[in-house]
Symmetry: C2
Subunit: 644 residues, 2 copies
Amino acid sequence: MREITFRTIGGGDVSIFAADGEKILDVARKANVAIDAPCSGNGSCGKCRVKILSGAVSADETRHITPSEYSSGWRLACGSEVCENALIEVPDIASAYRSRMKTADLSSPEEIAVFERIIKDLSSAGLSFGCGVSSFILSLGPPSLTDTMPDNERLIRSVSAKLGVSRNKVRLPFFCLKKLPGLMREGGFSLRVVAEKREDSLEVLDLLSPEDKLPVCGVAVDIGTTTVSALLADLENGRILSKASSGNGQIRFGADVINRIIEQSREGGTKKLLDAIVSETLLPLIDTMCRDAGVPKDRIYRVTAAGNTTMEHLLLGITAEHLRMEPYIPAFFTAEPFDPALIGIALSPSAGLRLAPNVGSYVGGDITAGTLASMIWNEDGPEMLIDLGTNGEIVFGGRDFLITCACSAGPAFEGSDISCGMRATDGAIEDCRIDSETMEPSFSVIGGEGTLPVGICGSGIIDIVAGLFRAGIIDGRGRFSREGGRIMRDEYGVGRYVLADAEESGSGREISINEVDIDNFIRAKGAVFSAMMTVITSLGYSPSAMERIFVAGGIGGGINIKNAVSVGMFPDIPENKYTYIGNSSLTGAYAALVSSSAAGMLEAVAAQMTYVELSTEPGYMDSFVAACFLPHTDASLFPSGGAL
Amino acid sequence: MREITFRTIGGGDVSIFAADGEKILDVARKANVAIDAPCSGNGSCGKCRVKILSGAVSADETRHITPSEYSSGWRLACGSEVCENALIEVPDIASAYRSRMKTADLSSPEEIAVFERIIKDLSSAGLSFGCGVSSFILSLGPPSLTDTMPDNERLIRSVSAKLGVSRNKVRLPFFCLKKLPGLMREGGFSLRVVAEKREDSLEVLDLLSPEDKLPVCGVAVDIGTTTVSALLADLENGRILSKASSGNGQIRFGADVINRIIEQSREGGTKKLLDAIVSETLLPLIDTMCRDAGVPKDRIYRVTAAGNTTMEHLLLGITAEHLRMEPYIPAFFTAEPFDPALIGIALSPSAGLRLAPNVGSYVGGDITAGTLASMIWNEDGPEMLIDLGTNGEIVFGGRDFLITCACSAGPAFEGSDISCGMRATDGAIEDCRIDSETMEPSFSVIGGEGTLPVGICGSGIIDIVAGLFRAGIIDGRGRFSREGGRIMRDEYGVGRYVLADAEESGSGREISINEVDIDNFIRAKGAVFSAMMTVITSLGYSPSAMERIFVAGGIGGGINIKNAVSVGMFPDIPENKYTYIGNSSLTGAYAALVSSSAAGMLEAVAAQMTYVELSTEPGYMDSFVAACFLPHTDASLFPSGGAL
């Protein structure tokens, strides 16, 4: 056996014994050291870079590693094996998915405003705030020899009188009955009762001391394939108490849903994937939010979670295997609310977790929740929601119909599939302009003044490609057509544009975008554009018929619509018809959490959505191929293209 | 530290380290060695006898131990302390409460008949068999590219169509959703579904392989203060699959409810008492029944339990402290059904445990269940149910009214409070005649031909006292008025009647009944008689107005009514008006388990019962004092007394 020590930035050293021939990536997984492996270790993505500080590994796979990097000790964890004791550095950029969070703006006034606005929007559509959960002080008369009613009866009658619900429709859960006798007597026969009123019934959710003033909370969470975002809200007034976000811990089992499903179907895989999302991701997020808000976890009574169909299956520990294989059958679209303790999330014993409903194998609860938040279901004219996550999903329609589809854009917009790509966290280049004359870039980096760039997030990639194209640096096929300055070529002649060299970057590695990256991006934007057009034209509409297009997704501080149009990602209609609405899945989950009528509308909206499978849609493939060009092979679709 | 080794008959040796000065009883409790301590170790009952085989203990308390016993090594565990290493024998009679079960007749045709009869009785009162639980095979069509319904939807629609329940009223619990995708495909899209149909809704309780033919089960259990009895039944046809009974593991914390409540209110007491009834008593009983019936525990979907008010509180791990102190307030009379896993009984994940409702602090679910089984609620004339358990409880009335009370008879009828008393298990003298001439006894012993007596159970005590009185051996006050033969006196002149000397007994100790025992018995029977009379006369009735009196309780193979009347325990009305109905609490629990209408009637009967607190009832105390005589101080109440 050899001793392998992983050194993580800020995380210290972790040592583990391993046998000769074991893959470094597998050894790291065993040691619970997170190494990004979007391709799940098949050598294709080149993300799982590690640096050998001492000792050695035997490296079979040297794609993605330059000779000079190789001689500095860089290897791919998935392409190297144990051969002697070694000290291995896991670079910060690789662990950024998990260890670093862009918390700076998570409670910015702009973000809070999004959540405040949704309540107003819903209210204008006739959906009121309020999830039926309230807390109140009850003073019960003390028992006596002439008033010997049992404790539970005394409480239930009083609650029933207070809230106007018939006595036999009041439910008192077991753990509340257990604490009732002591609590009643300690509080001088006064109690704080937390209860949820439904149509004609009432459930006591908790019994607390009358001195207890802590808020009664709920959690809304968006479970993205790449990023998980959550907020803690006061159920009684909707106020957001704290927010947090982090990478999805499952990312080490693959960047996309297909690789995750394959991992899940292996021996012990269900538990591994469940642990990765629950123990490694959701529990730390909930702990962080509770600590920030000064609220114990057992004050969380309701959770609303939205994720794509696969994420929801993995979260429940339910096999997603049949989603992957013809005829692509999910175990559920809609699951009944359940106790989150059943998946290892212990909150209040009366907590319930409700999932946003899925509508297709590849259009999930994140999209139905996002549709709720977009309000397009309440409009006459056809409008559109497009969510740019690890995949791209589209909803088109209004009050009378809603059709939806998913396009396999790949994870380019979340920074995967791009050599220097990263999530929209500290260090990411989030917007960029390129001077046509000097070919010099000017960009801003998430994390504020002075933060050095370590990679490029989705919104940055759009800007860079648009800038390169507009400056004539790349042609319609994404090939470099100018030379010199920041344009370099590797030994095989593959061109790249350098945004920051090793000295200028925060990671000590050059930050650049190469022809392979641009090719991946063009296929991604082509998938999005052709999906939008297929949906719009299949119903006989043209893009100009749309009043508004809502763009959602966590791809940066926002998206430069002009640039997105100029690369042919979005239809060429006036910029003011586009609205970037951020993480609409989380907004929708929040709305369903704090408003029972919104939760009801979420179900209704989902039921109204018709899923279109693009892969079997005639014409989609041709449309996709035609869109794999900057801005498009049919330039007439982008009349204003040159003017932008 | 000293090493103390306990040697139990059949249980081997258990060693534990203990400090000088620790009570042997406490050391035994720590070592999980069960020693009977009905008085909870205050030295008053003399039941916790142990024998020092080697080494020594320092014994302060020598009451209940004769000098010759003392010199043979007998001590009271509660009155002895550790002073050096010791090997201590825990005699069989003391462990009989836990280790030995009278299983011989538990599935006798007579007993089975009791359970079959209750279904017929209920049916004649218009209450049908059936608890709504059924199992059936469902064949679902396989999904295809043109039929892509999610697995849960496919199942729910099929179940809903099969049982005629609207689709949105079908509940599928989380664990069933989890196993659905795999099970469906393994079984070729056929499944065995276990479901419970309620008014207009339906809950799926389980999903099984279509090859699975095992029964769908429920458990009924009577939790007595001294004895716990249970049965395993097939919920689909009511058939009894197995039965078991054992002592209540809580007995080492006291014979009566008061001592148990005191123990519960001590540090860690709630858990100790809960463990004693759940881990030490119910789980082994359930295991035994499941093994006997060849059914795994997760096939148990419903549990109905009946116990007195304190037992039900202790079972739920809810404080019973306030039951003991003025104004004597229970936490609940009626508790909602709950998942038995919450108290450590893991059956099917969809299992529910329902308690028979209590109606007073000292009239509990065992009596309401017994009342259901007695059928007196369905009769015109006043009838009576008297349950002789560790206490005596009485229900009097019929269709128009039901009043109930408890009398603190003490545990004499279950063998406690009597020097050679024991539960009605193997070795107990259960009936007895005494020849007036020769003063010789003839008795039968539970356990069949050849079983040597080791003690006297409740029915035996009644017979012996009646026999001694009728033979003129004792007088109306219970004092010995004849001498010689089997009558002995101790050094203080206290008389006793020897049923078996040390050689004739199975325990090597003389079996006798002494004046203290008889005094305890007279107070117990006086409490029962005066309670019966107070209830009857308070409503202006006389005993002769009653059509039938049902005698229930596990006090032996039956009760000799003539003898019970002749000692003044029961009113002097014709013997054929009395019916012994055994464990009516278990019968009632079984009825409520297998019949939803019986369960509903149980609630209705409980709601109709009026609880009378005897201690505040005028005249009760005088009536009790007058009844503490054989047969009674007012001989006119027992006109036929001499003739019996």
